[in-house]
């Protein structure tokens, strides 16, 4: 909150400056600073927060420039009216791209970067060859500029300042909202984010659209500023390059990071003005980028903040909501998990052959079987990571098959992973809070952190709330995984080898925890190899082999079944 007020105050003060009589030189310089602050911050909304590095910010910027140019110089529309249209055009462009590209799972990382770069070139070619530009460029010198203050430079100053403040406000709001939380989770592990309930496709589109819209407006303003547009200058590598540089330098994950980077780089480039010096300036800036990427990959702002605060992650100074009190409040009606005749194949391999099983509320069912028998595949199908080829999975009255994973999470299904997959940049508390925010509990951010605190206490990790995952040992990470699974207030928990790698003492606490979870009416399906634990904990055992259920029943009977002994030990032991 303090930060928001600080931002507004700074904005107001800066807005006063032209009225007080700032020399035109400074107005121009600050125009450029604000211009880049808006561009870099808008870029990081998707690329910094969610990790989808776009090299195509220039496309949206250029789209905005040419929209304004066409509307004002070509069609005589007033400048200020053209700006929102520029935003809309850029946004539509991004939505078109995003709708196609975000559905393709493999198009992440450097491929997304290349694709966006290619799109920029295509757009540039189209603009160059159509009446939008056609070659000679577009002149805006005859377009009247509305005077917000006496001087034209002052007007641009104010327009850019307004955009920059709006952009920063948007960035700040996003980083403290559900959208931001979801985007940061997508950055760390998109598949897990989806399974925890984050609507990844929708969130990526929103961030992309917002970032494009802002770039479009920045372009529109800049069109008037330069007053003569050419395709090579508009669609050059400058915009894509600089926004990456500024964000990476300042810290792409922090709302103020790109702004700091923008200010620093614009200032240093200004210092190297004219001819040879400008070239040197660019080289120095690029060198700094390399250093930052290699040595300080998080950027300046987070590094400085960490030094200043002397602590890592965010600590929760919220009251610990007692577990028992929170217990009754928001638990949804318990339901039975029912898998009916589920089939799933990968390429030529039939991983699941008509698997049917059910888990009632408060029941613990163990899923066992040799390597490769399909246990993890079944969990992946139930949680929505894979679709079932045939068959249904139901939870109470709701059908799970056919829904995207985040909806399934919302209906009350949680899972843990064999090898823990926490969000690497989130503290333990935030990892759990995410699940509370997006799971079936649907908490508001403040509530979510109280909830997270409680679950961390429950799993014994209360003291480690502020730690980052890489600082936790295996046992702690497994229990973090458990806390995260519980925070969504699920009706069904799917545990995938939660005990592997733990020593006997840790196993005992895990078993104790699982019993307590059972007491709250949650249905538990757990995959395990440790037979002692299976026999101790489970009410029923289902044995899988090569994708089929070969035995089911009470633990002792199932494990004694002839077929099971045969599968595990070979024929000679069946006696």
């Amino acid at each position: 909150m303090r930060q928001a007020i600080g931002l507004l105050a700074a904005g107001l003060i800066l807005a006063m400056l032209p009225l007080v009589g700032l020399p035109a030189f400074y107005e121009s310089f600050l125009y450029l600073v604000f211009h880049w602050v808006a561009l870099a911050t808008s870029w990081s909304l998707l690329s910094g927060y969610a990790g989808y590095f776009s090299f195509g910010h220039g496309a949206f910027f250029g789209a905005g420039m040419y929209t304004v140019a066409t509307l004002t110089a070509g069609l005589g529309a007033p400048f200020l009216a053209a700006l929102p249209v520029a935003a809309v055009v850029a946004t539509l462009l991004s939505l078109g791209i995003g709708a196609v590209v975000f559905r393709v799972k493999r198009l992440r990382g450097e491929l997304f970067g290349l694709l966006t770069l290619a799109i920029t070139f295509v757009l540039a070619t189209i603009v160059l060859n159509t009446r939008l530009d056609g070659g000679p460029g577009v002149y805006l010198s005859n377009v009247p500029l509305p005077r917000l203050v006496a001087s034209p430079t002052g007007t641009f100053y104010l327009l850019a300042l307004g955009l920059a403040v709006l952009t920063l406000a948007a960035a700040y709001t996003i980083t403290s909202s559900r959208l931001g939380l979801g985007l940061f989770a997508i950055h760390d592990d998109e598949d897990v984010a989806e399974v925890e309930g984050v609507p990844t496709f929708a969130y990526k589109l929103v961030a992309f659209a917002l970032s494009a819209g802002i770039a479009g407006v920045a372009g529109g303003i800049h069109a008037m500023y330069v007053s003569y547009l050419t395709v090579p200058d508009t669609f050059s590598i400058t915009v894509p390059l600089y926004v990456v540089l500024m964000s990476v330098l300042g810290g792409a994950r922090h709302w103020l990071g790109p702004a700091v980077g923008a200010a620093l780089i614009t200032a240093s480039l200004y210092a190297f003005t004219g001819g040879q010096q400008a070239i040197l300036g660019r080289a120095v800036v690029a060198f700094v980028l390399i250093l930052i990427v290699l040595l300080l990959p998080e950027g300046l702002v987070p590094a400085v903040l960490r030094r200043a605060r002397g602590q890592r992650g965010r600590t929760a100074d919220v009251a610990v909501a007692p577990i028992l009190a929170a217990a009754g409040a928001r638990t949804e009606a318990p339901a039975t998990l029912d898998c009916r005749d589920v089939w799933r194949a990968f390429g030529g391999i039939q991983a699941l052959r008509g698997v049917s099983l059910s888990v009632a509320p408060g029941e613990i069912v163990a899923l066992v079987g040799p390597n490769g028998s399909g246990k993890t595949t079944l969990i992946n199908v139930i949680s929505g990571h894979h679709a079932a080829d045939r068959g249904r999975v139901e939870l109470g009255a709701a059908t799970l098959t056919g829904r995207p994973a985040h909806e399934i999470a919302g209906l009350g299904v949680s899972r843990t992973y064999q090898i823990p997959r926490p969000f690497a940049h989130f503290s333990a508390l935030d990892n759990v809070a995410l699940a509370a925010t997006f799971g079936s509990a649907r908490c508001a951010p403040a509530e979510a952190r109280a909830e997270a605190r409680a679950w961390l206490e429950f799993t014994g990790l209360g003291r480690r709330a502020a730690a980052l995952p890489h600082e936790l040992n295996l046992h702690e990470r497994k229990f973090l995984e458990l806390a995260r699974a519980l925070a969504g207030r699920p009706r069904v928990i799917l545990l995938d080898e939660v005990l592997s790698g733990l020593n006997p003492g840790e196993i005992a606490s895990a078993v104790h925890l699982i019993r307590q979870i059972r007491e709250r009416g949650v249905a538990i399906l757990f995959v395990e190899h440790l037979m002692r634990a299976v026999l101790e904990l489970s009410d029923r055992v289902v044995v899988l082999n090569e994708g089929e259920v070969i035995a089911a029943g009470g633990p002792r009977e199932a494990m004694r079944a002839a077929r099971v002994i045969e599968v595990y030990l070979g024929k000679a032991h069946v006696a």
Binding site: N371, M531, R532, Y568, L569
Partner: protein, 242 residues
């Protein structure tokens, strides 16, 4: 003693996989390591092959301390691995995979001879020699993986779960081949989930459970022990869990 493992401890990052493994393999023997899933068998075998570094303990091959040898130089001393899940180079052809097997100097010189032997053992590989390794069936891939290891003319062959995912008839064939390889003088350390096969073929066996070697000896003796039933099924005679 060809291979000596003493009190080996291996971890993945901070997750311990093997706590205290002690076993030995003499030249010319077939030794099986059995145990339930997650016991650490693959980790142990991968460490012997040089894919992984042990945290503590001793690992000696023909007297040489393997812990001091760089990973890519381990095979030079005569150890070849047939890893769990085959791990063939899918986009390269079968023959190219075999060629990687004999990459090291000595083996390369004997390439023609070894290749003939491998194709003799596995005629199907000869038929499909130019096909991409990834397009073979599971059983064929297993044969290719064994063939690749044989191309290295090893003194010690490490086999990690060769029967995994294969139909029983194919598994029969596989174990016949392993016998044939042994008959040619190759020492074998076999890791298997399939207890019956593993004990049938072995001169001696060890039981690995939760990262520790808990039993060892002649197969006949081990078979009688209820230790095996406990480890795999969790059942003790008399019914209660431990």
């Amino acid at each position: 003693m060809l291979l000596e493992v003493r009190r080996l401890a291996i971890a993945y990052g901070d997750a311990p996989a093997v706590w205290d493994a002690t076993l030995e393999v003499d030249a010319g023997e077939v030794v099986s390591v059995i145990g339930p899933n997650g016991a650490g068998k693959s980790t142990l075998v991968n460490t012997i092959a040089g894919l992984h570094r042990a945290r503590s303990g001793e690992l000696r091959f023909a007297g040489l301390d393997l812990g001091a040898v760089a990973p890519h130089l381990v095979c030079r001393h005569g150890i070849a691995l047939v890893p769990e899940g085959r791990r063939l180079f899918a986009r390269m052809s079968v023959e190219e995979n075999l060629d990687i097997g004999c990459y090291r100097g000595e083996a390369r010189r004997a390439r023609r001879e070894t290749l003939d032997r491998v194709y003799h053992l596995f005629p199907i590989l000869s038929e499909r020699r130019r096909q991409a390794a990834g397009s073979l069936s599971g059983g064929q891939q297993q044969m290719a993986a064994i063939g690749r290891a044989l191309m290295a003319r090893p003194r010690l062959l490490l086999l990690d779960e060769p029967s995994l995912g294969l139909a029983p008839a194919v598994v029969d064939h596989m174990f016949e081949i392993i016998r044939a390889i042994h008959a040619e003088g190759v020492t074998i350390l076999l890791v298997e989930q399939n207890v019956v096969r593993a004990l049938e073929i072995a001169d001696r066996a060890y039981v690995l459970e939760e990262g520790r070697v808990v039993a060892g000896g002649a197969p006949a003796v081990l078979r009688e022990q209820t230790r095996i039933q406990e480890a795999y099924l969790g059942l003790r005679d008399g019914g209660g869990p431990s």
